[in-house]
């Protein structure tokens, strides 16, 4: 009888896992089910461009079910809870799914309600986020009618999806306001809980320098405790006044993780082995992408690179073999810097982002602005739908981080 892999979440991680497993195992050996509460698959890197009118919201969305290969069952329902001990998933529509392997791929949830005042009367008017489709759309309207004043970009706390996105937002806002001829009428401020522009020292110095060059004020070690009328207020009672605020809310795991005894940590993320992607909760439970506790960025590229090792290990687990502990934390991201340019960073658990070229000496420039990187970022959307999700390899992009083009230190 075919064994059953249940995948919770039909986003980047769930879709590429399902498709890779389907290509690898015949249907009479393995039944594959993907569960998601809706049929809207958002190309999340596209959200950054919506507020500036650079991407049409319609163009970054496709149906989830259609991204799955033939022979993958798509079950549309929310998850009520996972019964870890009973090896069963209970869905909101009452279905119970038994499984030989469970893959948690439900990503991170935004928790704006956990910050006092964030969802107040200003939400969607002068206080926005671009981390959801509706949010990005509403922000587009507010930005279009913004005539000047204080524009504040704030990360409430980490972890967040795509830690470079709020910086990219600042760079693009600088470009956008210049295009509109009102840059001199706007005070643009980036407010972060970190002690610098970014988590990694070499990149933080470069990115911090770029904020400076673009006239973006940097406020560090600011832990937002409350959003009041026209001001962010930190826990230690500093305030940053704004006319328009773009806030990246707190993130956590999905609510069902909290309802599933023993599945998640205090923030609702699933404790996961950083090298094998097997959860530490139960041997038959694996996790991928933003849903895990891995010490890597919550980003699509990380999910993509994890996919290789995850699929290999699901196969090994089903065969009763020892798992492959080879995921190295590889991540790379294009950082849009405005004016048709972008930077690229490439790093893993041990190697922080440094200058050089990717994937080797003749490749794209690392930690340096270029038009080529901007084109790479735009082109990536095509690869996402046509290569990454279907589970084909993207040419020249392997799971292990390449070292050939990187400059030491």
């Amino acid at each position: 009888m075919a064994r059953h892999v249940v995948i919770l979440g039909g986003g980047t991680g769930g879709t590429l896992t399902a498709n890779r497993l389907r290509r690898r195992f015949p249907e009479d050996e393995l039944r594959i089910s993907v569960v998601d509460e809706d049929d809207v698959h958002v190309y999340q890197p596209g959200l950054l461009f919506v507020p500036f009118g650079l991407a049409d919201p319609e163009h970054i969305v496709r149906p989830r079910g259609r991204q799955l290969h033939r022979g993958v069952e798509f079950h549309r329902s929310g998850v009520e809870r996972v019964d870890v001990a009973g090896r069963q998933v209970v869905l909101e529509d009452g279905t119970r799914l038994d499984h030989d392997v469970l893959v948690v791929a439900t990503g991170a949830a935004l928790l704006p309600e956990e910050t006092e005042g964030l969802l107040g009367p200003q939400w969607g008017r002068s206080v926005h986020t671009f981390y959801t489709l509706e949010g990005a759309r509403a922000l587009h309207e507010s930005l279009a009618s913004f005539e000047g004043g204080r524009l504040v970009v704030n990360v409430v706390d980490l972890p967040i999806k795509c830690p470079v996105a709020p910086l990219e937002f600042c760079f693009l806002a600088d470009w956008y306001l210049r295009e509109r001829g009102i840059r001199d009428d706007v005070e643009l401020t980036y407010v972060t809980p970190l002690d610098g522009a970014f988590t990694k020292p070499v990149a933080a110095a470069t990115l911090g320098g770029m904020l400076d060059d673009k006239g973006v004020r940097l406020v560090t070690e600011f832990n937002t405790g409350e959003v009041r009328e026209g001001a962010l207020v930190s826990w230690d009672e500093r305030d940053v006044p704004f006319d328009l605020a773009v806030v990246v809310p707190l993130h956590g795991g999905q609510a069902y993780v909290g309802r599933s005894e023993g599945l998640g940590d205090e923030l609702g993320f699933v404790p996961t082995d950083p090298a094998t992607l097997q959860s530490t909760v139960a041997p038959e439970i694996f996790a991928i992408g933003d849903a895990t506790t891995l010490p890597a960025s919550k980003a699509g590229s990380v999910t993509h690179f994890e996919g290789d090792v995850l699929v290999e290990n699901v196969g090994r687990f089903l065969a009763g073999e020892e798992l492959d502990a080879s995921y190295d934390g590889h991540a790379n991201c294009f950082i849009e810097t405005g004016f048709g340019k972008a930077m690229l960073i490439d790093f893993n658990y041990d190697q922080e982002p440094v200058p050089g070229h990717y994937p080797a000496r003749m490749g794209l420039p690392l930690l340096k602005e270029s038009r080529l990187n901007h084109l790479g970022k735009l082109m990536f959307q095509w690869f996402y739908w046509h290569s990454l999700l279907p589970g084909r390899d993207v040419p020249g992009i392997g799971s292990d981080m390449p070292t050939a083009g990187k400059r030491a230190g």
Binding site: D157, L158, P159, P163, L194, T199, E221, N223, G225, W235, D236, L250, E266, L267, P295, A296, S297
Partner: protein, 105 residues
């Protein structure tokens, strides 16, 4: 590795002044470490947080972030900032003699 003396004992610290080996810490050192952070007297609430930091470190290999501390220590975030101004996770880690909590990425 730099060393320093706390409450008459030599301990190893890193460049930022965090303990390298939490086993070198004793409760007798806490008042002196706290005073350096501008905390004049350690209350029961301070001790609740200090002990919680140490048990979390022992269990997980890193101290909790402020957000996790607020969710799990029983002391709300607002109060944590009153007890350990300017970053409860960092300051409490210093007083509790554990390495700097790993931030997220």
């Amino acid at each position: 590795m730099p060393t320093r003396t706390v409450a008459g004992t030599t301990v190893e610290v890193n460049d930022e002044g965090f303990f390298v080996d939490p086993a070198q810490w004793t409760e007798a050192m806490a008042p002196e470490l706290a005073a350096e952070e501008g905390i004049a007297a350690l209350t029961d609430d301070h001790w609740t947080v200090i002990r919680f930091m140490r048990s979390e470190y022992a269990e997980k290999g890193t101290g909790p972030t402020v957000r996790v501390l607020g969710k799990t220590s029983g002391v709300p975030v607002k109060e944590l900032y009153q007890l350990f101004p300017k970053g409860p996770a960092k300051i409490a880690a210093r007083v509790a003699g554990i390495p700097k909590p790993r931030g997220c990425l």
